[in-house]
Subunit: 522 residues, 2 copies
């Protein structure tokens, strides 16, 4: 219960793990990839809801929680826990008095540290911070030959390598693509292994079955040590709600494993608006709020103080084809609104990314991704899954788009620094010095020379040369330039050093697990 | 001076032009193009500067105006006007006491109507409104064959036709591409003529020489009538400042013509940051503020109450190549900051657009354009030039990008509507009705059926179909789909009806002007 008492002050402070242990972890983590630290935002958030709108939506969510309730499906333990907590039980349906869930949510930390095996790559989740993580979940890949096919473990490893190389990618992610060449019941082992060995950035765990979540925690204990894992967050995992208003036994099972292990869960209603929620933004927010409150409250029943991230994943829909649409205004409005509620509840918030429905890394992909990514930053998202590589509504991991998106993440990171008005930022003497144009200009000014290396964001993808120069260099499009960078990142990858004993223990754990059961492919 | 007294209340009210004249204008304006009205924003603005930063920047701008001053070059009349107004004169250099320019700026209207010949297409410039206008100024074009070449008057007319067809394009613009097949000293006549005859949306005038500005006003008087033009804004024109800190005789000449005719000028420092201004955002804003204040104050010396738009066009720079870069964080920060000052001064604000340095309508183009366009909307820009069609740092007008950008403008227009929390928006009964998933869903709900036509932005460019369907339809990229739409818009263009007497008078004016002087090609 010390955990619970400490919860609201955040878990970050404890995570320091001073002295010998930290030094040892640093020693066995030799990663050389240049990285920007997680974003510490110095800019405002954009708010789309006024006070009245927030009151209406929260009141309606309370009404839904009290009248309709949430179904906790196929999980008698969850029902017992809710009964003990004083909720109203009707079979698998759980109803909540006004404010009950919000009261339970209060033990969740407002901010916490997710530790990486290289402490320099730890991330702070919550508050004014933003952490970018790669695309999650696609079965297909468009790798460097541009062919669309099912993903493999080799693709998976290559994406982990790219995420390791990208400076503005703060996290190694989870299922960066489904490795379909490995049995469904065993692939989580290889995925977690890849994150642990090819990268030293923080990673996500398996949620496809409770025992796979257990495996993730066990492997994390090999990597970090039992005590460290029990006292610190080292895994963040994605728990999707079956909207509308259902939690199933798979998600509840994994949620229980992680929360009880003190590990972080992103609890996200996954909503195709108009299909899984009302067709309006306010209606969708109402449902998101009801679902998220019930699920987050449940995480605190599992272990008060367990770190949790309030998530929202919403799309609009093409009413002709029924297909989800991305980068459109309404999902951005849902994001902005849900972020306001997360801030109100002092909870870290997950949403956004570089989302698109396009089949190609073309202009559609970029417009839609940029729209979502702008909302991600300005909305104050704390943890952004799918920040790079997402294509075709999440069906495809694109290597070229991964690299292009990472360039945009670096741009957003610069944007988040805000405007400096210190003496150097004011540049008053430079204006006095250069005086009048147009003959005089700033290129040669001392102030310009002193600042030019960091003053402007420098894209690694955009070509701003003259047309003639661009022609000489082969008239390449942005994805072609990205392709070359992706190749370089993968070819030049150097795995960060890892203690041999840990490596052997991980290999042994995986071999034992794989030998303990036959392959399953569904 | 009645003009001046009325200034701060806005000129919109007077623009109604009730009774016979309006009816006659409506009658002779038969345009059938479906159009969204200018945007009336219902969402907040995003602010990047806090109160302290604004104070520092304004104080520094005052210091620059007082110490360094602004050069009014090759225009003795301007110097005399400043002398009479009490500024400190030193040759062509004009210095201003603290607050002097801001005091003069106060007669400029905070909002005004720019009239179109079809009153349904009038736009309100200022306040909570946003008006989108096409790309301005490129010498080159990428038309529908994709070849990059110098623009012609045919290209010009085709872009005017596209702007007329695009529902979220509120304005016909100005130099949508340079028609290089027409003499430099005569092309303005054909450009203004194209806007007046192929469209009935509002348009911009020539600024390349004072006499061409006079021609624009004269042609506008033929179209609208002398009295109407004298009492209402029917032209908005772009006056660029020669940063740093210089106004030249060309821009001053056109500014005087338009301001004295009661027509609107956008007064924009055009800044490649690090070259024409300090390399920092705060330094650039300081210079923008000094330049804009002096130029706007000058417009009010020409005619107190003349409508004017405070403009800012800023880019960052590639410090390797020296080329300007677009869609990067720093220009967005300049935009957000300058918008805050325009609001503080109760002036309409121009900035943003769909800017990019890309040579192709590819992912680079779309990322960069979307970044700028998101800032345009959230920053509260009132008049956005270059909202569609801009490519290659403004050297190229791209037909395909024009169509793709217009789709994004429509998305922003939807975004600007904000979140409705009326009973329909709340959708509480729908949530009650659908209840629990995942079997139950919202697609068939009555509330969804009642709302689906308008609930979600429907892109005309994005393909959200299944991969298989997309393949069947030819595996097209976004620019390929845009190409087909552009062809349709141009082919199906039907010029809005125009009174035959007016058409003849315009033709006669142009013929007379063209015959009065030899062709000049520089």
């Amino acid at each position: 219960m010390a955990e619970a008492a400490e919860g609201r002050r955040g878990r970050g402070g404890r995570g320091g793990a001073g002295g010998g242990a930290a030094a040892r972890r640093a020693e066995r983590s030799g990663g050389k990839a240049v990285q920007l630290p997680y974003i510490q935002r110095k800019i405002n958030t954009f708010e789309i809801l006024d006070e009245e709108a927030m009151e209406i939506i929260e009141r309606n969510a309370d009404t839904i929680l009290a009248e309709v309730g949430i179904e906790f499906r196929d999980d008698p333990e969850a029902i017992s826990m809710w009964k003990a907590a004083g909720a109203q039980i009707d079979g698998e349906r759980v109803r909540f008095e006004k404010g009950m869930c919000r009261e339970l949510m209060k033990t969740a930390p407002s901010q916490f540290t997710q530790h990486a095996r290289n402490p320099e790559r730890n991330v702070e989740i919550g508050g004014h911070n933003t952490v970018f993580a790669p695309v999650y979940g696609p079965p297909f890949v468009r790798a460097l030959d541009g062919v669309r096919r099912y993903g493999t473990i080799e693709d998976f490893r290559n994406i982990v390598k790219m995420a390791y190389a990208a400076p503005a990618m703060h996290h190694s992610g989870g299922t960066v693509v489904e490795p379909s060449d490995i049995a469904v019941n065993k692939r989580h082992l290889d995925m977690v292994h890849a994150h642990m060995t090819l990268s030293d950035k923080p990673y996500m765990g398996s949620v496809t079955a409770p025992e796979r979540a257990e495996d993730t925690v066990a492997m994390s204990k090999i990597l970090f040590g039992d005590d460290f894992v029990d006292n610190n967050c080292v895994v963040t995992s994605l728990i999707n709600i079956n909207s509308p208003l259902v939690m199933d036994d798979t998600m509840l099972g994994s949620l229980k494993v992680y929360a009880r292990a003190g590990q972080a869960c992103i609890i996200s209603p996954f909503i195709v608006g108009g299909a899984m929620s009302p067709v309006t933004v306010a209606g969708t927010l109402t449902q998101v709020l009801a679902e998220a409150q019930a699920a987050i409250a449940f995480s605190q029943l599992c272990r008060p103080g367990a770190p949790v991230i309030m998530g929202t994943f919403a799309t609009s829909i093409s009413m002709q084809s029924g297909a989800p649409a991305f980068g459109t205004p309404e999902p951005s409005q849902v994001l902005y609104g849900a972020a306001q509620f997360a801030r109100k509840y002092n909870l870290p918030f997950r949403s956004g990314g570089s989302l698109t429905g396009s089949k190609l890394p073309d202009a559609q992909a970029a417009y839609e991704s940029a729209n979502t990514l702008n909302a991600t930053l300005l909305g104050g998202v704390n943890f952004s899954l799918h920040a790079a590589g997402w294509l075709e509504g999440g069906l495809v991991s694109s290597f070229e788009k991964f690299v292009m998106d990472c360039d945009q993440l670096a741009a957003q990171q610069k944007m988040a620094q805000g405007v400096s008005v210190d003496e150097n930022g004011q540049a008053l003497d430079a204006i006095r010095e250069v005086g009048l144009g147009p003959v005089s200009h700033y290129l040669g000014a001392e102030h310009t020379q002193n600042n030019f290396k960091t003053a402007f964001f420098a894209s690694t993808i955009s070509d701003n040369n003259s047309f003639e120069q661009w022609e000489v260099e082969g008239s390449k499009s942005a994805p072609e330039r990205a392709n070359a960078i992706a190749r370089k990142w993968i070819e030049e990858h150097e795995a960060p050093a890892l203690d041999e004993g840990i490596r052997e223990a991980l290999d042994e754990f995986i071999a034992q697990k794989k030998n303990s059961m036959p392959d399953a492919f569904s």
